[in-house]
């Protein structure tokens, strides 16, 4: 394992990473956010969702560097005395979880469909591509709203696991199309290459060829796409939560926090909505920059 990382560090990709200050900064920030999100219960100074620890008298405290700031709550508190910093970490956890899960789902579905469409060709290919076209003609948010909203309406008391499931489903429902198209194109190129023909004439079954020969060679662009789509998924989730059809209120995501804080924006308590917004931007930006770097670093070799 150590050998693998050492080789990677000294390889072309590692060199590209080491010489790109943007990539390293973005990676660092993304890592910090991820760390805080994953280990939120350990890292966060307070637990904002444990009602026993809340003190209503601490509500609406501004951030540390303003007057009335309290060092106990670094970024201030909201209307119920919850620490903003801690809420950010727990919120980031939800956002990242939803973002990563929906990307995983849409990548899995998209890559599989793209592989099949590109390899088999013919009517199946045409059908899958037409489905892609149809999916792309609907705005993402609209579809997600529709599904999440309908789900809410039908099952108002659903357990939060199901709510999350519907949320992840609605975001990944449109995301898979990009993967399918990219993979289909690469598959069609690889299918005609001679190593695939060599496998065919040896008698290897088509499914095995797809899985063992073609798939490893078409995953390059998928990695880049997935990285960039994580940011998109997080923002989509935030939008849905802002609109009220996203994460359930007892496990708020960054979007929910923004929406909740929105009410107090003009009464002067700006920090309740601005900090979750900044956190969202930070995560999305660092992931996007990482994806950009990856695409450029992989590009000359893909050619």
């Amino acid at each position: 394992m150590r050998g693998f990382f050492l080789r990677a560090w000294h390889g072309d990709l590692g060199y590209s990473f080491r010489t790109s200050p943007v990539a390293m900064a973005a990676a660092l920030i993304a890592f910090i956010c991820l760390f805080c999100a994953v280990f939120a219960n350990v890292v966060a100074p307070h637990n904002p969702f444990d009602l026993a620890t809340l003190e209503l008298s601490d509500a609406f405290l501004p951030p540390l560097w303003l007057a009335d700031g309290n060092p106990k709550y670094l970024l201030g508190t909201d209307d119920q005395g919850r620490d903003i910093l801690s809420a950010l970490m727990f919120g980031a956890r939800i956002s990242l979880m939803v973002g990563l899960a929906s990307v995983a789902l849409s990548a899995a579905v998209g890559v599989t469909l793209g592989l099949v469409a590109g390899f088999v060709g013919g009517t199946l290919d045409a059908f899958i591509m037409r489905v892609c076209d149809v999916m792309l003609s609907f705005p993402v948010i609209l579809i997600a709203l529709l599904i999440a909203g309908v789900g809410r309406a039908l099952f108002p008391d659903a357990p939060s696991a199901m709510v999350f499931g519907v949320l992840i489903l609605s975001i990944s429902l449109t995301g898979w199309v990009q993967y399918a198209r990219t993979v289909r194109g690469s598959t069609m190129v690889e299918r005609h290459k001679e190593y695939v023909q060599a496998a065919r004439l040896t008698g290897v079954a088509p499914l095995r060829i797809m899985r063992r020969h073609v798939l490893p060679n078409v995953l390059g662009p998928v990695m880049v796409l997935a990285t960039i789509q994580v940011a998109t998924a997080i923002i989509t989730e935030a939008t849905l939560s802002f609109l009220g059809v996203g994460a359930p209120p007892n496990s708020p995501s960054l979007g929910t926090l923004i929406q909740v804080g929105n009410k107090f924006l003009f009464s002067g308590n700006w920090w309740i909505t601005v900090f979750p917004g900044l956190m969202l931007v930070l995560i999305a930006l660092s992931v996007n920059l990482l994806g950009d770097w990856l695409r450029d670093a992989l590009n000359p070799r893909l050619r």
């Binding site: 001679e194 190593y195 023909q197 040896t202 008698g203 490893p216």
Partner: protein
């Protein structure tokens, strides 16, 4: 009648091999723009035999169908018409049955592009070992490892190359890895699709020498596809010349180069840049290979042929068999050349 042992049946017999591809525009275009259906006659009525241990070379320029013939022979395509018999078995019928696996073991292929014929993500051991694994020829991983090492050594590479990836090798070495992969199942018949066209001259010499050595050592039969007549002259016993999907001449090597009969063969030989006889006057072939989608009527070569007459424009020549080979040409048949 002298007592001659009966001739063994040729190992490979192709009879009237034909492959047509449907390259019509999509249905919508055909309806809206009134475009007709389009057929590509990639291979049209090709027949030949290859004796065991011999090499038949197929020569031609782009669009002549030689690569399609190669793929028909290994079962990558099914013929539209005609058939292929290998050691007495009908190839395409057998390939679709359970006995097909045994047949696949005996026929293998080497490809033209050393960069595309090896999976860039697999190690050399996996690549060379794949046919062995697929055919279930090895008992366990250690056995496979040993056999792959043997195969690599037989083509002049080493056992330590097994863990490397294709991009760490040069073009000539990759082609040798391809040969090692093809030899894994101990085939009797190797179809080689322009195996040295992408290689430098000195590397080509190495690969051709290896192929000849292997043929002698293992009694292999080759179908060697190339556009390079000089290479063909070096490796083949018999040569077949193809033009626009049809076999125009087939003869043993000496005869073809000394006394080519078909006008296209003559011009092809003449067109090759010669290293030592450069002062001679020659007329290069006029015109270009026509679009295979709309071949000329009658004899496909007639627009470029200096001996074409009216019959050549309308009637397709049939193959005439001579003692030294076969030719499909009206002028030869009529004794005009």
């Amino acid at each position: 009648m002298s007592l001659i042992a009966p001739q063994p049946m040729p190992l490979v017999q192709a009879h009237d091999l034909t492959k047509t591809f449907d390259v019509s525009p999509p249905w919508l275009n055909r309806v809206l723009e009134g475009k007709p259906r389009l057929q590509l006659h990639a291979v049209d009525g090709v027949s030949f035999e290859i004796e065991r241990g011999q090499t038949l070379a197929l020569v031609g320029e782009s669009g002549c169908g030689k690569s399609t013939v190669a793929r028909l022979l290994v079962g990558l395509y099914a013929p539209t018409r005609g058939g292929l018999v290998f050691d007495g078995q009908d190839v395409h019928a057998t390939l679709n049955t359970p006995r097909g696996q045994a047949l696949r073991r005996r026929i293998q292929m080497i490809f033209q592009d050393p960069y595309a014929s090896l999976n860039p993500r697999w190690t050399v051991e996996d690549i060379v070992g794949e046919p062995l694994r697929e055919q279930g020829l090895t008992a366990n991983p250690a056995d496979l490892h040993a056999r792959v090492a043997d195969l690599l050594q037989s083509v002049g590479l080493g056992a330590m190359d097994m863990a490397k990836y294709p991009h760490q090798f040069s073009g000539g070495q990759r082609q040798r890895i391809s040969i090692a992969r093809a030899l894994g199942t101990e085939p009797e018949f190797l179809v080689c699709d322009e195996p040295t066209s992408a290689l430098d001259v000195s590397v080509q010499a190495q690969v051709l020498n290896i192929m000849k050595d292997l043929q002698r050592a293992r009694g292999l039969t080759y179908l060697f596809i190339s556009h390079n007549l000089a290479v063909v002259r070096h490796v083949s016993d018999q040569v077949g010349v193809m033009y626009l999907g049809r076999l125009v001449e087939l003869a043993d090597k000496q005869t073809l180069f000394a006394r080519p009969r078909h006008p296209y063969t003559r011009m092809l030989i003449d067109a090759i840049p010669k290293m030592r006889d450069t002062g001679r006057a020659r007329t290069p072939v006029s015109g270009e290979v026509p679009n295979p989608l709309s071949p000329p009527g009658g004899c496909a070569f007639h627009p470029r042929c200096p001996h074409a007459n009216a019959r050549c424009t309308s009637e397709r020549p049939i193959i005439q068999v001579f003692s030294t080979g076969r030719v499909a040409c009206h002028a030869v048949q009529e004794g005009r050349i």
